[in-house]
Amino acid sequence: MSHDNHHSGGSHEEHKHHILPESMGIKIWLILLFFTFITVWIAQFDFGAWNFIIAMAVATFKATLVCMFFMGLKYDSKENVVIFCTSFLFVTFFMILTFADVLIRSDSIPKGEAFFKTASGPAKFKKPWNSTPEIVAHGKALFDAQCVTCHGSAGQGNGPASAGLNPKPRNFTATDGWKNGRKPSVIVGTLTKGLNSMPAFATLPAEDRWALAHYVTQFGPSIDKDSPADLTKAGVDTSKDVIGEVVSKSVPVDFVIERMSEDNR
């Protein structure tokens, strides 16, 4: 409008400034109050995803009224309308690009959340360093979910992913090559720290690592037992029911890679 005035060279006194009539202001105010009530009233019903959509639609309607009448954009110059609306165009770009980035990265999908929950649950087994049919069954479930990729379902170290690994994954059915013995405490140590291509599974609760150790020793021809000295060396206080170990909050990179490759299979 200012430009028009410049170029027409006409008297600026002709330029009529729009004044919002008081009655109009009060009408807009009543509509805004009514829709605030609607927003609150509708929130008590459960329409699933529609609740959010309705709330945003009502908010946008209210915002439009404020912009058009209270802020006078309806009567303002086209330039100002374009300037203000441009901001929302850029907000849209901002949202689309950020959402695209977040949502295509698999590590940001809440799947990881479920994993953390299992890693910090309450103790399921008393004295998990003792082998029982229950803890062995739990170990089998964990093994079938997380270890078969490399170690194979029969524990022979011939899982699908073993082809690319050197040295080969541990064959639990063989008795040779166990420098530190085939005892559960030793296997727990390997699960905790990792060994060669074997990643550390320190984020698993200690009792899950013991469950896995009890299960894999059952593959072999013989079952070696831990002596009290072995247990003490492994940090177990046999007078207690649970292992007083702080579960690591960080996830080793290898472990994440393995999880991701498993998830993508």
């Binding site: 410049h6 600026h12 929130a43 908010a59 915002a63 209270f70 901001s87 950020t98 959402f99 959340e113």
Partner: protein
Amino acid sequence: MGNKNHHAHHFESAAAEFEASKQGLWVFLVNEVLFFAGLFVAYAIYRILNPDLMHEAHKYLNWKLGATNTVVLICSSLTMALGVTAAQKGQQKKSANLILVTILLACVFLVIKYFEYMHKIHEGLLPGGLFSYHEPIHPKAPQFFSVYFVLTGLHGIHVIGGIVVLAWIYMRTLRGEFTDKYFTPVECTGLYWHFVDLVWIYLFPLLYLAS
């Protein structure tokens, strides 16, 4: 800034000066929209990644206080709009009173916000590492309160800034600096104040009613 009927020498006319000032304010509001957009996008992503949490966390906010504050701000937007109308008509006394009511409503908003914040602080519903609620809600609940405090805090700073500018405009109106020919600062302050209301129109359903 020109005063009364005089305009600065680099403007062709008072009308051109008014249009330029107002356009400058619209550009400032574009900047404000994008400023708040960063936080709104953060909120949206947080919501997408933690759908279950949004259902839980909003229960710890008092929607009645949020709704009251929404009504307070809408009323302040009306008194502001009527104050601008009065200024444009040259009714200075009426304009001053309406601006004063707008300031008082803004203060009511802040007092309610103060009680909300005090309650949160007392309960330990605080951002990030400060979170110390007596019972576990959700592992990501501290992040919700980070989003809550930063969004409402930034909005609160805008309300405080609005009160300062409104007080300045109120004093100038009382001094009789504005006429039906010159009311640029009143109208521009009005635009800013309505923007503060706009942000809250979205914040209220997003934070207090999210489910």
